[in-house]
């Protein structure tokens, strides 16, 4: 058996010491009627066979296209040092630092991660990690409810659709209600939060609001009037939850700067591979007065009996293993290694490098916008964006499908995730990062020109592409 240290002689000696004749006797407690008889699974692979099998499966995926797909998960350059350090077995084969005397490595890295993210978000307290951006956002909303003892949150539809769906699932249990804040439907601020509508929702005295949840940049890539949203939320006694993207915070206004009480977001852009959705890093941060409401582990600095500086998990009375049914969340296993990856990534890039990543993404996106407009795909919105934006093309799904055949992953057809919003039915959400090359942009523009010319919106090529696109829906 792979990985087993026990020889048949060892097994015999153990059985003799225990005083049983066979391993079967050790399972005698399993009632006869409940006994299973083996597993119908394939036979073991040797490591040679296994590596070949895995290489073949990985090879069935296509990761060679010029990709403009972001929508909550972003391609970035990850310095080689990040993965080299993550492969230290002392980090990745340890567990939760329950014994601080022999876990200072993990504890200090978490403390440093908390400090770095506090600096990036402009907030005071950062949890050691949550599962991903979606669950961190749901936990942030629940936290706002606990802190205000209210049971209604207002959520922007321009928060990532998966986050809103997750929030709805999490809310199903607790009697908490999530209402949508309308977006402005026309004019220069189209696609951003409708402040007048938000104010009206907040003024419903019979249904007081615990928290207002808005993303910046929004899922549509737009920058939101965060300071104004915060003022309106606070005037109504609600907390303001900002959904953030951490790389952008190297250049964009921070939640602390615009007055958010809680920030939640996806930490994947900080050096974590795309890996088809995870493992990622749920970021959850808050202002100091909310520290006893925040779910998830926290690491604090203290001293040992000899007065040496040391780190330890703290404020544990919030957690499930201590408080059981009264805990602030059921979270136990978190994403510590992903938080470590983020910390190493930030350390490798430094403040200027992180700013360069964000700024270079913005620069490449501006070049992409220019090229796509010239190729016949104008922007859907007019407000400022950082590195992701929506463009209009006739029959977005068919064009997306056609471009795929031309080697371009043309972002996300927004109609797939906003089926109700007619203004987004013919929109593609595209993004650029520092790894987007000029050649990628030129190839996208050329392919788009060719695609738009060949289909012309009505021809047989377009219809065929649309029909085959059905298999690729999300």
């Amino acid at each position: 058996m792979a990985y087993s240290p026990h020889t048949s002689d060892d097994r015999t000696r153990m059985l003799e010491a225990i005083g049983v004749g066979s391993v079967d006797e050790l399972f005698a407690d399993i009632p006869e009627s409940l006994r299973a008889h083996g597993l119908e699974l394939p036979p073991p692979d040797t490591e040679v066979e296994l590596s070949e099998r895995l290489r073949r499966l990985a090879g069935l995926n296509r990761v060679d296209l010029a990709s403009f797909l972001g929508a909550g998960a972003y391609r970035h350059f990850v310095p080689a040092v990040v993965d080299q350090l993550l492969l230290r077995g002392e980090f990745y084969t340890a567990y939760t630092p329950y014994q601080p005397e022999i876990s200072q490595g993990t504890l200090q890295t978490i403390y440093e991660y908390q400090s770095m993210l506090a600096e990036l978000t402009g907030l005071d307290v950062v949890s050691a990690s949550h599962y991903d951006g979606a669950t961190a956002t749901a936990e942030a909303a629940l936290m706002a409810c606990r802190a205000t003892r209210r049971e209604r949150v207002l959520v922007s539809p321009a928060v990532h659709p998966h986050y809103r769906q997750t929030l709805a699932t999490y809310f199903a249990g607790g009697g908490v209600v999530a209402d949508e804040i309308p977006l402005i439907s026309e004019g220069p601020a189209v696609g951003t939060t409708d402040l007048a509508a938000l104010e009206a929702l907040l003024n419903d005295k019979d249904r007081p609001v615990a928290g207002v949840v808005v993303a910046n940049p929004s899922f549509l890539g737009l920058l939101e009037p965060m300071a104004e949203i915060g003022r309106l939320a606070h005037a109504a006694g609600a907390l303001f939850v900002a959904v953030i993207e951490p790389v952008s915070l190297a250049v964009l206004a921070t939640p602390g700067q615009y007055g958010a009480d809680i920030a939640a977001g996806e930490g994947q852009p900080l050096g974590i591979p795309l890996s088809f959705g995870g493992p990622y890093l749920g970021i959850l941060a808050c202002k100091e007065p909310l520290v006893r409401q925040i779910p998830g582990r926290l690491v604090g600095m203290t001293t040992d009996v000899d007065g040496r500086r040391a780190f330890v998990m703290t404020l544990r009375a919030r957690e499930q293993d201590i408080r059981r049914e009264k805990a602030s969340s059921n979270i136990c296993t978190n994403q510590a290694l992903c938080a470590l990856a983020a910390a190493i990534y930030i350390g490798a890039l430094g403040p200027h490098g992180l700013r360069d990543v964000a700024a270079l993404g913005a620069a490449r996106a501006a070049e992409l916008e220019k090229a796509l407009v010239a190729a016949g795909a104008p922007r859907v919105h007019s407000g400022p964006y950082l590195n992701e934006f929506a463009v209009r093309v006739p029959d977005a799904r068919a064009v997306h499908k056609g471009l795929l055949a031309r080697g371009i992953l043309a972002g996300l057809p927004l109609g797939d995730v906003y089926p109700q919003d007619r203004t987004l039915a013919d929109a593609l959400l595209v993004c650029a990062t520092e790894v987007t090359t000029e050649a990628d942009v030129a190839a996208f523009a050329a392919a788009l020109r060719a695609e738009l010319a060949s289909t012309d919106g009505t021809g047989p090529a377009s219809a065929a592409a649309a029909a085959s696109a059905k298999g690729a829906d999300r």
Partner: protein, 499 residues
């Protein structure tokens, strides 16, 4: 440096000097941000560390050396299954085809990963005896929440709105009651029977039209198989409730007990325990959930589907309206699931059965070796872990489980889980796993015998332990009363960045 003690490491903030580091990505000029309104920009640059790459490497390598880990030694942390993490699994998850695949890539670009996930679902269904499996949950507790939210949806779909309670034995993991609360249920805690098992009579008395579900850990957190499981499951279903199994201890019973076949309606599987994906210093893991017929319609989306032509795809938005919805963004913690898949294929059906046999064999062997050294409250054969207790030792010498645990550190071991389960006084939950050699188990038992002898001869040695660790016992009270949760004295980077 403010640290005394030569094994400690300065914080990365103390290592920072303006001007160090860089040259990882090209530097665009500040003009590229001119198109963004000034009030949308960060008012001052982030005060993040500036270190050179060699310093960065030493920082993290030195920090790693302050950790105890499975790769460095014996880690018998009960209920956590700290088994060896095969290196090929790390290699596999890093293959470019897996690691660089975007979660929203169209199905046609993702056939390899989708096939792997589909095959993994099938394997986990076979192992758990369940009808279907969702790979979406990110951890065991997340799986529990997924399961209990499905239970809630099931009862509501039948118009049964009165079921507001979840019954949990008092020996359960803390995540069980915390999950029930999060899913909107009231937890009813049921005392254990004197033999450590579930008290079926107490359960019967508590079961009724208000019971939505019963959450049972099997084998239990005491490392015992629930001998009266049949009676309990019958009673649960008679009351119209559903049975949820916390599968944290599945490593004991692969191929010998399948929760689905036994009658459980849902089970979560901690792949970071049973299927050897690394614990990562606290995570990430993954907590797939298997369900029986009754809960299948409510599985979270998106599921992985195989088309009649053999191709794979993810379920589309709104395709299955009975679903409880999403539990997270995207499909799941795929990188973790690749590792679990690799582990399952390396062992195969026969190997997984042997894993459980050897885990149970090792636990019973170590239990035998420790009998007479410590209290071993439950004498019958254990599964993959067992409870020992320092209760007599404490009565005799004043030495508590905590002291024994800390002294184990001096002997080069990670302590077992202590003071859990809550139902046993001075508990130590010891789980050797199948990964440990006979010599390691013997040496651990010898160390424990020496510590117990020290407790009588030199109790102060134990009270003050550990002595040979990077730091000694910590002031946790001050840490909680005056929380210091972030480094305050960070120096500012030059802002704006020089062009």
């Amino acid at each position: 440096m403010t640290v005394s003690g030569n094994r400690l490491v300065p914080t990365i903030f103390e290592r920072s000097r303006p001007g160090r580091g860089g040259a990882k990505v090209p530097h665009p000029g500040n003009a590229v941000l001119d198109r963004i309104p000034a009030d949308q920009l960060r008012s001052e640059g982030p005060r993040l560390p500036e270190v050179s790459e060699p310093e960065l490497v030493r920082h993290y390598v030195n920090l790693s050396q302050l950790n105890y880990a499975v790769d460095t030694g014996f880690y018998p942390l009960g209920s956590c299954t700290m088994k060896y993490n095969p290196k090929i699994d790390e290699w596999a998850a890093r293959l470019d085809g897996f690691a660089s695949l975007h979660p929203l890539a169209p199905d046609e670009l993702a056939q390899g990963t989708l096939q792997l996930l589909w095959e993994l679902e099938q394997a986990l269904a076979e192992i758990s005896g369940m009808k279907a499996v969702t790979l979406q949950p990110a951890a065991g507790a997340h799986g529990e929440l997924t399961g209990i939210l499905m239970v809630r949806a099931y009862h509501r779909s039948r118009g049964d709105l009165e079921r507001t309670e979840v019954l949990v034995p008092d020996s359960a993991h803390g995540t069980n009651p915390a999950t029930a609360s999060m899913a909107g249920f009231k937890t009813v805690s049921i005392p254990s029977a004197p033999d450590g098992g579930v008290d079926v009579e107490a359960f019967r008395a508590a079961l009724g039209p208000r019971t939505a579900a019963v959450m049972i850990t099997n084998p239990s957190t005491l490392g015992l198989f629930e001998a009266r499981l049949c009676e309990l499951l019958d009673a649960v279903h008679e009351a119209g409730a559903l049975a949820y199994m916390d599968g944290a201890n599945l490593n004991a019973v692969m191929g010998r007990f399948k929760p689905g076949e036994a009658g459980f309606d849902a089970v979560h599987i901690n792949v970071h325990k049973t299927f050897s994906t690394p614990h990562g210093g606290g995570g990430p893991g993954a907590g797939p959930v298997g369900v029986g017929e009754r809960l299948m319609p409510f599985l979270p989306g998106p599921r992985v589907l195989r088309e009649p032509d053999g191709r794979f795809r993810l379920e589309r938005e709104g395709e299955r309206p009975t679903s409880i919805g999403r539990m997270r963004a995207f499909a799941g913690s795929t990188g973790v699931l690749v590792r679990a898949y690799a582990y399952i294929r390396a062992l195969g059906g026969s190997g997984l059965c042997e894993v459980s046999e050897e885990a149970v064999l090792a636990a019973n062997y170590l239990k035998k070796k420790l009998t007479g050294i410590l209290d071993v409250p439950f004498e019958r054969a254990c599964m993959h872990e067992f409870v020992a207790s320092a209760a007599s030792l404490k009565a005799r010498t004043g030495i508590r489980t905590l002291d024994v645990a800390k002294r184990l550190i001096d002997y080069g071991y990670h302590p077992p889980t202590i003071y859990f389960p809550l139902t046993v006084e001075e508990a130590m939950l010891i789980e050797p796993t199948e990964s440990e050699s006979l010599e390691t188990l013997d040496a651990f038992a010898d160390a424990m015998a020496r510590i117990v002898a020290e407790a009588a001869d030199d109790p102060e040695l134990l009270h003050a332990a550990p002595h040979d660790s990077p730091v000694r016992r910590l002031d946790e009270t001050t840490a909680a009363r005056q929380p210091n949760l972030r480094w305050q004295a960070m120096t500012g980077a030059q802002n704006p960045c020089p062009d």
